[in-house]
């Protein structure tokens, strides 16, 4: 599972130098086969809610078509960081952000960036399933129609079907596409939300505790789904469930009090953590 995942230290300037030459992801894969390419890079990200600082100098490289898990005790800033990546924090008036976040070398906080476009590249799945109070079909068709990416009715039907298939929901809902999405079970709703995110063909999917409101069976389904999705998408998942992180993530970042204490491939982080705090956390000594 992690065969191609080179051991990666916390993203800092060292890793930056290695990456600088490879602007083209395609190139980088050819030239440095074992070196995974960076999809999203956070540099010195600091975030304040009013006067209180919630993130201190977060540096992180998120690798393309891999699953990166963010773990850490409650209130350590995982969600805050996640929301930086699709600029959902913009909606909170008191937020102030410094530092740099790039999506394939484009600064997403550049004034010329259109958040609408950014969010169609970076999708998000929330902790509680939040389908729109519309039909299953409309839930998925909404965003492609909004962004004008699909023209004909037939293409739209196809897109809906494919998105549902990729989210593993097609067989369960194929015969009731026009019933309200809110009438599905919690697990189905969450997969509907994933299908909805997939439908705009994003590059990155952010998931904030996507399975924490679900029962173990539905959770397992979501985890399998994440495993399949990483072939196409870059996934960042916040989770409180360490087993889940160990199961689904290629890389794991441990957050503590607004800082990344340790970032590594998941196996190493869980079996051989460098930092005492990480070890304390994963062995359940606190948090």
């Amino acid at each position: 599972m992690y065969s191609d995942a080179a051991t990666q230290t916390t993203a800092t300037t060292e890793s930056e130098t290695t990456m600088q030459a490879d602007n083209e992801p395609e190139m980088s894969r050819q030239n440095h086969a074992p070196e995974p390419d960076v999809k999203v890079r956070a540099e010195n990200v600091r975030l304040w809610y009013g006067q209180t600082q919630a993130l201190h100098n977060v540096n992180l490289d998120i690798h393309a078509r891999k699953v990166t898990a963010l773990i850490g005790p409650s209130g350590c800033g995982k969600s805050s960081f996640l929301r930086c990546i699709n600029r959902m924090n913009d909606l909170i008036p008191s937020v102030h952000i410094e530092g740099r976040i790039t999506l394939e070398d484009e600064d997403i906080y550049d004034p010329s960036v259109d958040v609408v476009q950014l969010r169609s590249h970076v999708g998000m799945v929330f902790q509680k399933p939040n389908p729109f109070p519309k039909s299953i079909y409309e839930n998925i068709a909404y965003a492609p129609r909004l962004h004008g990416t699909v023209n004909s009715r037939r293409d739209l039907d196809e897109l809906v079907e494919n998105s549902l298939k990729r989210a593993g929901l097609w067989r369960e809902v194929a015969d009731r596409l026009h019933t309200p999405g809110t009438e599905l079970s919690g697990g189905q709703q969450q997969r509907l939300c994933i299908a909805r995110a997939i439908a705009v063909n994003p590059e990155v999917i952010l998931m904030d505790e996507p399975a924490s409101a679900l029962d173990p069976l539905a959770t397992a389904t979501i985890e399998e789904l994440i495993d399949e999705l990483k072939d196409r998408y870059t996934i960042v998942i916040v989770t409180h469930n360490l087993q889940q992180a160990a199961r689904v993530a290629n890389y794991t970042a441990f957050f503590h009090m607004g800082e990344i204490i340790e970032f590594n491939d998941t196996d190493t982080l869980f079996t051989n953590p460098r930092e005492q705090k990480t070890e304390d956390y994963i062995t359940g000594r606190y948090g």
Binding site: M88, L91, F132, P133, V200
Partner: protein, 396 residues
Amino acid sequence: MTDQSENNTPRLTGSVNDPRMRRRYRAERRFHAYCISAVLVALAIIVTFFSDIIGQGYTAFWHHEVQVTLDYNERSERIGQFALDSDLRDVASRGATRSIPRAIDRNPDLLGTTETTWVPVKGDIDQHFKNDKALSDSLEEKVNRLLADGQIRNAFNSRFFTAGDSKLPELAGIFSAAVGTLYVLGITLLFAFPIGVMSAVYLEEFAPDNKLTQTIEVNINNLAAVPSIIFGLLGLALFINFFGVPRSSALAGGLTLGLMTLPIIIISTRAALRAVPDPIRLGAFAMGCSRWQVVRDHVLPASLPGILTGTIIGLAQAMGETAPLIIIGMIAYIPEAPTGIFQSATVLPAQIFTWASEPESAYVEKTAAGIMVLLAVLLTLNAAAVLLRRKFERRW
């Protein structure tokens, strides 16, 4: 456990003899009785009110008619009364023949023909049959004879619904007031609904949370508590004196009631918008919606039932309002239904008010019947609001 068995009191039933427990149960029963009697008092008031109104008003939906032969000739072309057999001139309502000269004028072919028809009897005679109103002996004898002969009958009073106000109580109906009410409420809706909903959307979805918007919010809430007569004064000053809207027109009334309804619509719309859960908004934002798209595609559709419910309740309230309309001159004698928003109009409650201040006893039943109609419409509106809310309540 051993303690209990030593005390020798049953563990679950012993409290029956405990005075403190007994007092507690007594207080409980007393409170229960108070609440039930409060409900009974309220019920009794409602029942009394309805039975009183219905008892007074139901007779207005029936009236007595006399069979007459109308004679269209040269004399009745000038004075309608001459169309009647002289014996019936003091029985049939004057209103029944009032329009004959005009009818002949419009259709000269009528001249020389006769027509047998039923027309309302004079109000006093109707009241004689209904409430034993005293008549002169000769007249009383005559109408009793006509009744016995079947020349006077008790029939459904369709006139009450198709005629406007009249100085002759036997001819008066609610039609002009009902049409006036429709015009006024139509204007109220057109004025208050878009402004109210848009203000609420702005305040709830777009406005930053700062001192200014908080002040606006508090003031809107206060506005809803302002006595309606003050809105009448505002309407008078603003629409009639400043903008020159014709006095006592449906437009002036509709706008004035619109001012009154505005805060109700704003408040209920904001409540409906707030009831839409934030995750729906966040989900839409995360799909790349702009704020306006979030509102248009997700928040408004989800909150529409709530908005409509609030609007219906606001309109129902406006429909029952009289005080502000008195101020802008809508308590007037309006026999003809308005055909435009600039014409003088009156509304149902104002019509009821006018009838209630008439001295003649025939208007008492009209007043009560008007109240019945108004209440029926209001109850229907409120029921519609409740149904709407039930049917579409929270689908997430």
